[in-house]
């Protein structure tokens, strides 16, 4: 077995120590990016929630957008009070009509009875 002499030229290759300086420098960038992203999301969310900011368009919906259905609520009907004047003389007219309707019903019954009585005359005339 041949042994290599100790030669500074041919020195064993040493693995460089890990450089942590680069890691330290990228952390703020990531944090800032995250903060910006969060801000964008919050602002975007608020922007989406705000009603009335959508406009109808015939353009195709971009890939990074979504279709939102907006239901238009019709304006509320103004509430009001219908004023109907109840006149006591009108009520009396209704009562009069009801009474006469009863009279006419009785007349119809009496008319039928008189017709029947005249038809029954034959019960005596046949004798």
């Amino acid at each position: 077995m041949e042994e290599h002499p100790a030669n500074p030229i041919i020195a064993p290759i040493q693995t460089p120590a890990p450089d942590n300086s680069g890691k330290k420098s990228s952390r703020p960038v990531v944090l800032i990016s995250l903060i910006i992203l969060i801000i964008i999301l919050i602002v975007g969310y608020k922007f989406v929630k705000k009603p009335g900011n959508y406009q109808a368009t015939n353009n195709p919906v971009p890939v990074n957008q979504k279709t939102v259905t907006v239901t238009t609520v019709p304006p509320a009907t103004p509430s009001g009070t219908v004023v109907v004047k109840i006149d006591s003389s009108d009520q009396q007219l209704d009562k009069d009509l009801q009474g006469i309707q009863g009279n006419l019903n009785q007349l119809n019954s009496d008319q039928n009875n008189s017709n029947q009585a005249i038809q029954n005359q034959s019960q005596d005339t046949q004798q």
Binding site: K85, S89, Q123
Partner: protein
């Protein structure tokens, strides 16, 4: 002696002959009456059944009409008393005939029972005269107070139509209403004037004339009732129009 014996023999033979001859007659007399009695009993039963039925029908009809007379509004109290009295008299008379029929039936008095039965028709004329007369008078009375109520309503409506400025459609309805009420009054007055004076004897003396009066009165009742229906329809239209003209448009609340 022989002669005497012969006479005795003749007398005996004669007596025997009489007895023998009378025997079949007595037998016949005992045989035929059950047939006659059977026919008579059957006839008695039939006449009695008819009599009971006829009297019961008339009593029911008279009792029904008697309850209406006090409710009539246009007949005066004296007229009401007159007709109620006539109905009561007829009810009592028919009840008497009913009892007499029962008595004659129980006594086997066919002749009397037939006479009783005929008296239900000839003496009372409940169906021939009294009930048609009373029912026509009842109908004309109802027509009368219905016309009176419509006349009162007409006055109220006339005032309201005038207040509304006499619109032509309402004045036309008022005019028609008034005309129909007036014609109905003519009809029921005619019915009353013709029917009120009739009696059972009116029918006995002039049956066809009495029947004609009833036919005419029936036609008048029909015409008058139609008039009142039209007048009522006019009134309803007028009231509806008056009420609809008062509707106020909705006022939105603030």
């Amino acid at each position: 002696m022989n002669i005497i014996t012969t006479k005795k023999q003749l007398l005996i033979m004669l007596g025997t002959g009489i007895v023998l001859l009378s025997l079949p007659l007595s037998v016949f007399a005992q045989t035929v009456p059950p047939v006659q009695a059977g026919k008579s009993a059957q006839r008695l039963g039939t006449v009695n059944t008819n009599c009971q039925k006829a009297t019961a029908q008339r009593l029911t009809s008279l009792t029904e009409v008697q309850t209406r007379i006090p409710t009539l509004k246009r007949l005066s109290s004296s007229q009401q008393q007159q007709f109620s009295g006539e109905v009561s008299t007829n009810i009592s008379g028919i009840q008497g005939v009913q009892t007499q029929c029962t008595n004659d039936f129980n006594a086997g008095n066919l002749t009397g029972l037939v006479a009783d039965y005929k008296s239900v028709f000839a003496n009372y004329r409940i169906y021939a005269e009294m009930l048609p007369q009373l029912h026509l008078l009842i109908a004309s009375d109802t027509m009368g107070y219905t016309a009176n109520n419509l006349t009162t309503l007409y006055g109220k409506l006339q005032t309201r139509v005038q207040s509304a400025g006499n619109p032509s459609n309402l004045t036309a309805l008022l005019s028609d209403m008034n005309a129909k009420i007036t014609d109905a009054q003519t009809q029921y007055n005619s019915v009353e004037s013709q029917a009120v004076g009739l009696t059972p004897s009116s029918y006995n003396t002039n049956p066809s004339g009495t029947t004609q009066i009833f036919q005419t009165a029936r036609s008048e009742i029909k015409t008058g009732a139609g008039d009142l229906q039209t007048a009522f329809s006019d009134a309803k239209q007028i009231v509806q129009s008056i009420k609809s003209s008062k509707t106020i448009s909705p006022v939105p609340s603030q």
